[in-house]
């Protein structure tokens, strides 16, 4: 062994190198406070190791970036751990860098003769921030896409060369394949190479001047190996443990694939840039423009930091005191602004709703990608564009939620609000003016129609048209309108309620409901075939027990039990709404296109007609498939039911709203 080392020594001088590397003198003994630089080197090495592995599976293009990151995280062996390590170590590096910088300033380690090394450190810091920035975009998810848009737009605000810098960074006038290839080249090639180069210089110059020791008599001098290395290793192990635990128990999020046509209201930078984000939102800062807030101010701050060695040289101890005060003030400012941003976002209802939607979309994209059909070559973005579960709620919110609600919310999980009575009054929760479609066509829905018709459609009574019609009616005019309290159907349910609720008809009601629900053809529910047949008999022949016997649905709704026609035609329609496959996909599409047709409620129906110019065929299909559950089933948690919140909010207000609230 010794012979081998000697052989190597004569040819390479390895002993001298090792001596140089490990036998650095540590005056005053090894200390925990010297570990920070080493932890930074360690996290960088960790980033290299995990980064190279991620590189081996990553594919930078707009149709493969999200897809390959999804594949790494959800398909590959230990992929979630490797991505998690890289994700959290990147954040750890920023935190460690801040600690390292503060310590260097507090200890005066930036002063002569270490000025150059301080500046090398600042260059390294810029490179690390550049790495985080470029890395954030690489998954090409909505979060990274929209947050990085903000960054590149800030670049464009740079005086004189802004636009050119932005175009060069993006690889063109807009985001696309080349944005990813360039960001990836920066992230995995150019910046790490620069970082290694500057790190070598940084360590070389550091060794030249040695540690900044305040109390050399504190303990006997020692050497870097093994005393300080032991402490460094323990510190690095702690860092590793933290990022590993985070990677294991808090997998990094992959939000939905980037789509420039889908708004992303939850856009935020990485948390360590939140202070800058919050700073930009101050009115005083805003009024001075983006260039001032996002470029000039950070530039001045960096300038002051870079000038610290000179300040200390010129002003002596006063300069050092000023530098320390500035550092603490800056750190305090960053912490306060970061906490403010977190606090404000946590209390911002819209932002929380946007986050919920972002999580839902992201999980849905992953769920569809995991599916047996995999991801088409056009990319995962098309999976979501064609997915009713993703776009149904958005279409509902846009087109339906000014009257209808979905489990009390607007389809996207938010309560619908309207302006207060006066300009100054806070906005209030708006009362729905049409049925809540949360359980559209399910058993509860059908039960309510059979047993509780008036109440089920009572939300309509909040509408202006209803009140106007009632007023006109009260004044003695003739007016033909839909009245949930007074119609043949309302009269039938209320008039026969005792018989419907009687013990002898309990099974019959259940069977009728089963039949009606089965006729909708909604996916995701199984029906009892025997019960359905019994229900069909009841609906068509009216084979009830007791006084109800002989009253069938078909005696008015003569098409019940039939298929919904592909070419609906009102020439033979009766004056009653058709129940042919009521609440099915075909029925609902026809209803939305022609709510005023004689086969539905006729001209008295106040529902807005949605022509294909107003709601395209593709969007109608997405909306209706969502409402009829006609999509790849999802295990993604859906928006919380808000009916109770809505009812509670409406309770103390006008009496109409209170009465209108459906029974639970």
């Amino acid at each position: 062994m010794i012979a081998l080392i000697n052989w190597l020594e004569t040819r390479t001088g390895v002993k001298a190198l090792m001596h140089e590397a490990f036998n650095e003198r540590v005056p005053g003994g090894a200390r925990w406070r010297y570990v920070w630089g080493s932890t930074l080197v360690f996290t960088f090495v960790l980033q290299m190791i995990t980064g190279f592995m991620l590189w081996s599976a990553y594919s930078p293009s707009t149709r493969t970036a999200w897809e390959s990151v999804y594949h790494i995280q959800h398909e590959m062996f230990l992929g979630n751990i490797i991505r998690g390590l890289h994700h959290y170590a990147a954040q750890g590096m920023v935190v460690l860098m801040a600690i390292h910088l503060i310590q260097v300033i507090i200890d005066g380690a930036y002063k002569a003769p270490r000025e150059v090394n301080f500046w090398l450190g600042i260059v390294l810091m810029m490179i690390v921030l550049g790495l985080s920035l470029t890395g954030y975009l690489l998954p090409w998810d909505q979060k990274g896409y929209y947050a990085t848009q903000v960054t590149t737009n800030i670049m464009s605000a740079t005086p004189v060369v802004g636009r050119e810098v932005q175009v060069l960074a993006q690889g063109g006038s807009d985001y696309g394949h080349l944005t990813l290839t360039r960001f990836f080249a920066m992230h995995a090639g150019i910046l790490p190479t620069l970082l290694v180069g500057f790190l070598v210089l940084h360590i070389y110059v550091f060794r030249r001047h040695g540690l900044t020791v305040h109390d050399p008599k504190r303990a006997p001098d020692t050497t870097f190996w093994p005393d300080q290395v032991l402490k460094d290793s323990v510190a690095c192990l702690a860092v590793l443990a933290v990022v590993l635990l985070l990677a294991m128990f808090r997998a990094p999020e992959l939000s939905a694939p980037a789509d420039p046509a889908v708004k992303f209201d939850a856009a935020r930078p990485e948390w360590y840039f939140l202070f800058l984000f919050r700073f930009l939102k101050f009115h005083a800062v805003e009024s001075l423009g983006v260039t001032f807030g996002a470029i000039i101010v950070p530039g001045i701050i960096m300038g002051i930091i870079a000038a610290m060695p000179i300040t200390a040289k010129v002003l002596g101890n006063l300069g050092h005191t000023l530098n320390r005060a500035f550092t603490w003030a800056l750190a305090l400012g960053v912490v306060v602004l970061t906490l403010m941003a977190f606090y404000e976002d946590a209390n911002n209802v819209e932002h929380q709703a946007a986050l919920t939607e972002a999580h839902r979309d992201g999980q849905r994209a992953i769920e569809l990608s995991i599916g047996p059909d995999k991801i088409p070559v056009e990319g995962a973005v098309t999976l979501l564009r064609e997915d009713p579960f993703t776009h149904g709620p958005r279409l509902f919110a846009q087109h339906c939620s000014s009257c209808h609600r979905f489990n009390g919310h607007d389809g996207r999980g938010s309560l619908v609000t309207e302006a207060g009575k006066t300009d100054e009054a806070p906005s209030v929760i708006a009362a729905p003016t049409a049925a809540d479609l949360g359980g559209f066509g399910n058993r509860q829905w059908m039960t309510a129609i059979v047993m509780d018709y008036s109440n089920h459609f009572a939300w309509m009574k909040n509408s202006t048209w209803f009140r106007d019609a009632q007023a006109k009616h009260a004044a003695g005019g003739t007016v033909d309108y839909i009245n949930p309290d007074s119609s043949e159907m309302a009269d039938w349910t209320s008039g026969n309620l005792d018989d419907l609720k009687s013990a002898e008809n309990a099974d019959n009601v259940r069977a009728l409901v089963e039949f009606l629900a089965a006729e909708t053809g909604h996916a995701g529910t199984t029906y009892d075939a025997a019960l359905v047949e019994k229900g069909r008999d009841l609906a068509i022949k009216g084979s009830w027990a007791g006084a109800l016997n002989g009253t069938s649905c078909a005696s008015c709704h003569d098409t019940i039990g039939q298929d919904f026609p592909t070419q609906p035609d009102d020439s033979t329609a009766s004056s009653y709404p058709t129940l042919a496959k009521y609440a099915s996909l075909a029925w609902l599409k026809d209803f939305i296109r022609h709510p005023d047709a004689a086969r539905h409620y006729g001209a008295k129906n106040q529902m807005v007609v949605y022509s294909s110019q107003k709601l395209s065929d593709e969007n109608l299909d997405l909306l209706v498939r969502w409402l009829t559950h006609n999509y790849t089933p999802s295990t993604v948690p859906d928006y919380a039911n808000q009916l109770d919140v809505l009812n509670a909010a409406l309770a103390p207000s006008s009496s109409v709203a209170v009465e209108a609230a459906p029974k639970k």
């Binding site: 010794i2 012979a3 000697n6 052989w7 004569t10 040819r11 707009t62 149709r63 929209y146 848009q149 903000v150 737009n153 800030i154 464009s156 605000a157 636009r163 050119e164 175009v167 060069l168 993006q170 690889g171 063109g172 006038s173 807009d174 696309g176 394949h177 080349l178 789509d259 420039p260 046509a261 889908v262 708004k263 992303f264 209201d265 939850a266 856009a267 984000f277 930009l280 939102k281 009115h283 805003e286 009024s287 423009g289 983006v290 260039t291 819209e350 932002h351 946007a354 564009r385 846009q398 619908v416 609000t417 309207e418 302006a419 906005s427 022509s611 110019q613 107003k614 709601l615 395209s616």
Partner: protein
Amino acid sequence: MTSTSPEIPTAGSVDLPISVETPRRSLLVQLITGMLSFLIIAVPSTLSGLFFLDPILRKRKAASDDTADGEVPRKDEAGFIRLDVTKEAVPQDGTPLSVTVNDDLVDAWNMFRDVPVGSIWLRKVGDGPILAFNSICPHLGCSVDYIREENEFYCPCHASAFALDGKKMNDIPPRDLDVLEVSMRTHGQQDANGHEIWVKFQNFQRATSDKIVI
């Protein structure tokens, strides 16, 4: 080999005799060497640097469109794109309508036919003309939402607010919402009473008070 074997001399540790040259010759050699060394690095660096500047140096070639014979093209020469919705779809009461704009998208080596390229807000007051705004916030490029209860446009990123006519309502955005040119047509022909909405969809540079087409 044992530890007693003689040291192997290495070039780095031994002072080799350097031939004495005339100073003039030495200066010339140094000059040429310096220039050559510079040249072998400068040539590939310059070429690579110019390659990296491709996004601002290269002239882009026009892409084809795939309109079938006899079909009214979806996009005209002037860049107007026909929307999926017509005049009737825009609410009468002035409530803005969000519409996705589809177009052929060239992304480096790919052509994506008829894909969403952005979204716009359409607005009409009574029988007045239809207004179209690009929904991208002129501040830093997030998307602007319509807030029903405030009856205004609002950006969830940095709180830019705009009135429904697109005028900015606070100092956050550097300019008003970007108005897009609208042309009402019938079968693609200009017609003030036409029902088809054609919009010249453009994106504009963010974070500047001037409206500059990207």
